[in-house]
Amino acid sequence: MEHHAITLDAPARPQRARRRIGFPLGLLLPALALIGAEVGVRAGLVPANLLPPPSAILESLSWLLENGLAGHVGASTLRVAAGFAAGTLLALPLGALVALNRRAEAIFDPSFQALRAIPSLAWVPLLLLWFGIDEAPKIILIAIGAFFPVYMGVVAGIRGVDRGLTEVGLLYRLPPLALARRVLLPAALPSVLTGLRNGLSLAWMFMVAAELIAASRGLGYLLTDGRESSRADIMLAAIVLLALLGKASDSAMQALERRWLAWRDSYVDKETR
């Protein structure tokens, strides 16, 4: 029998996005701000006790480095890691349950939406009362902060899965768990990862709230310490460290996102990377 198949050239392997070499544009604004602050303070336009120049902040950082900074950073990072992990581990199954089950949605979602609206500081006195001033209330507060963005990401991700893809899974008689693992989860991954990124960023914010009130170590404690001793340089050093740590953890999540979502065929990936 005549065979009509035509063969086309195999496609080139997907190329990795080319790394840009040169000045990273993201550093432009911070560099300008630092130069502006340094010049402004040295010129006497801004009082140095309110806004210490970047050189003084650098000196404070260097002093802190020799006086237990690693312990503060380590304590905060561990709290964020533990709280974020706990919040995420709760949010993933609960989000999936609410997304897939209307009754579960009716039971859980209204309460979650109400709890989501509570500001982080509102939890602090209650958590202190319930759990004391140990690590537990801090980690619980951070977990609360991380929970909601991840939960929202999972719900939105699963709800947004193309019905056409789930139909293919059903056509091939995938049992519910296999359907979730092979179709729903990968299809929901972009939204889940966005939720994880937002959750991680909120975890850092809630960590500061937790440490501001009752802590003897951590970056939040450094902020309080700086306020009580009227040391703007220490407060700014802690803020700079918070920004750097937040950015570093977000960059790690972004790298993970790029790796896990390399299959995406999005406009941004094609045109602007």
């Binding site: 009509h4 195999a10 293919v168 008689r173």
Partner: protein, 243 residues
């Protein structure tokens, strides 16, 4: 020809609306049947029902005497859109239905058959629309179903690609002795591919007329375009719309 696929749908409703009523269609083994009719007459619903994706209806679908109660390994379906999983490679998409021991070698062989040699490790985003539909056809063939259902599978590709895909489908079906139920809006396509063209009526969609095509294979498109079958089908379509 005895009925291999026996479809008897007394009624299929979408909510309060009846979308199929009194539809009886028998398809012989190895027969290629095209379903044509106006949009909304229930052609795609019929395919979903036969594929087991839509189970709420009164009636029965039997394959070789066995009643189908849901998706079945003997029944493959190729959708209008390729519906490839974007996170899987093309070969992984082809073997998607093979739950336990996916045979990637066979997937590559099928891809070669549909003209996608060397594309097994590519991601769907690297394929054109026509190539993606070829991969979807390969996936439809992977589990070696006895019946292949196709829901306007070539409607989104250009005319040249469509002809290539039609030839590909015809070859694959005839080589395997596949029973094919094809939904299409393209009368030329229906005539070229089918042993029988079934015209469905407007909502709620019983069979209005059937046209048998005895033209031998390989078929010539030019000759078929001039066959009396086309005006007969078009006349019937116009008559249905005039009601």
């Amino acid at each position: 020809m005895s009925a291999f696929l026996d479809i008897a749908i007394d009624e299929k409703r979408h909510g309060a609306r009846s979308v199929l009523r009194g539809l009886h269609l028998k398809v012989g083994q190895g027969e290629i049947v095209s379903l044509v009719g106006a949009s909304g007459c229930g052609k795609s619903t019929l395919l979903s029902t036969v594929a087991g994706l839509d189970r709420e209806y009164r009636g029965a679908v039997r394959l070789d005497g066995r009643q189908l109660t849901g998706p079945d390994a003997d029944v493959g379906l190729v959708f209008q859109a390729p519906r490839l999983f974007p996170w899987l490679t093309v070969a992984q998409n082809v073997v998607f239905g093979g739950h336990h021991r996916p045979n990637l070698e066979r997937a590559h062989a099928l891809l070669e058959e549909v003209g996608l040699k060397g594309y097994g490790d590519a991601l769907p985003k690297q394929l054109s629309g026509g190539q993606a539909q070829r991969a979807a056809i390969a996936r439809g063939l992977y589990l070696e179903p006895h019946v292949l259902l196709l829901d306007e599978p070539f409607s989104a590709v250009d005319a040249f690609t469509r002809m290539r895909l039609q030839d590909l489908l015809a070859d694959a079906a005839r080589q395997r002795g596949l029973t094919v139920l094809l939904v299409t809006h393209d009368i030329d396509e229906a005539i070229y591919l089918s042993d029988r063209v079934v015209l469905m009526d407007g909502v709620p969609g019983p069979v209005r007329a059937e046209f048998t095509n005895d033209a031998p294979w390989p078929r010539e498109r030019g000759k078929l375009a001039l066959s009396p079958l086309k005006p007969a089908i078009l006349d019937s379509l116009h008559a249905v719309h005039a009601i």
